[in-house]
Symmetry: C2
């Protein structure tokens, strides 16, 4: 299942997402990226929203070629987005790609939503393995979301990433407002907003009278400034947060050393 | 299913993990924590290793009381560790607990393993919701791992966390070497080591001749210094990394602003 090596001129681009191969968001992203390189799509065969950075170790994985033409291949995987990246590297490409682009997600991954996001886990896999990677998300959860207004910005950011590369170990979390292109005010490079999910559950009863629950919940922003992705998104800017896979709270190291 | 409110003196402690309610690691942790407060355990009903910060939104959730006595309750949940925390808050306790302790994990969560860890996702849920939280992991993946040598350190760190609290939004990732207590040299507060997983898969064929794969892979440390958790662990120190749920690469914001 080894792919052909790319020609010298064309970068090898891995495309994935968490909404599955059939989601309109990934079809829009593929369409934008195909002129920019050799595109290999390895995406989940079913929706994997909210799977975060899960990897499949308790079950077996499958991967199937579903379509191939010149400089383009498409594979369906029964795993998570992180599984898709690892399988793409090892099983499909036999090497790490030049770039990873993930999305376009149906729904925002701004602020702390990055922690729950399968789309962004695939992007973090890039950062963890030295591959420049960008995740795109549209602030519209509907399967019928219109991705056309975001195309101009997705293309611009993809082109600049391919032209410039990214600093080592850094990936990008791009969130796009769900408004007509003419209303998008531009691009802002931001920090991740502070926020929280107010947990909530819908309690129901099955026909045997046993309770079960559906997870709900509401995102609560902590209103923390015009330099955040949440502010940018709410004010019709495309928000880019440079992301690194390091959770160390450096400022807390020294105070905690006094404990011991 | 509302718990009694705790008495003024005893903190309300939520205990969870990703190896399931039956794992020896969580039994050791419960045993250490029960003298320190009112303990409510909400843990997965089956192993959830590698589920990371996944939340269950495409399936329904269940939670069942399995044991109760004075100042102690135990619930099994069919979801992930992050689900367990959210259900504990909303369904079991009707409020956020005073502390969350997660583990003791069978296997290390040092370095970038934090991104794949269900144990640490539960702890990050604490940080995301303002609850001081600590995750404990033993550097031994076996179900038969011996947790006795680690007890002294788990107790000390839990007691200090309960006495001192943690800085707002900060949680702790504690990794413990798998050696006799007498060989543990002490505690070091560290930064998260840089590393990567070298992806690998075991390829097999089902009886119909169709290929399937088991995920394997080897952790590769990037050998980056005596101030890292990986170094501490390998040199028989208990490693504590203060963790914050913010992935912003602050140093990359300004350079990226020149792109647009």
């Amino acid at each position: 299942m080894q792919s052909n090596q790319p020609s010298m001129e064309k970068p090898l681009i891995l495309v994935t997402n968490d909404d599955s191969l059939k989601a309109p968001g990934i079809r829009a992203l593929i369409d934008i990226l195909r002129p920019l390189g050799k595109v290999v799509v390895v995406a989940p065969d079913r929706p994997q929203s909210g799977t975060a950075h899960a990897v499949t170790i308790a079950h077996m994985l499958r991967i199937d070629l579903v379509y191939r033409e010149t400089d383009y291949e498409e594979y369906a995987c029964n795993g998570t987005p992180a599984d898709c990246v690892k399988m793409a590297y090892k099983i499909v490409m036999g090497r790490r790609p030049d770039f990873i682009f993930s999305g376009i997600n149906h729904g925002t991954n701004s602020s702390i939503n990055i922690f729950y996001s399968g789309t962004m886990a695939a992007v973090l896999e890039g950062a963890l393995t030295g591959v420049p990677a960008v995740g795109f998300s549209l602030n519209n959860y509907s399967l019928n979301a219109d991705f056309n207004p975001s195309r101009k910005y997705v293309r611009e950011i993809a082109e600049k990433t391919i032209a410039n590369g990214l600093p080592k170990g850094i990936c990008l979390n791009v969130n796009i407002p769900d408004v007509p292109t003419s209303m998008i005010k531009g691009i802002r490079v931001c920090r991740q907003a502070e926020g929280t999910w107010q947990e909530d559950f819908d309690e129901r009863e099955d026909p045997n009278g046993r309770k079960y629950y559906w997870m709900k919940g509401v995102y609560v922003n902590n209103g923390n400034g015009e330099d955040t992705d949440q502010w940018a998104l709410e004010n019709n800017y495309v928000a880019i947060v440079p992301v690194q896979p390091d959770l160390t709270a450096v400022q807390a190291i020294e105070p905690l050393q006094h404990w011991f």
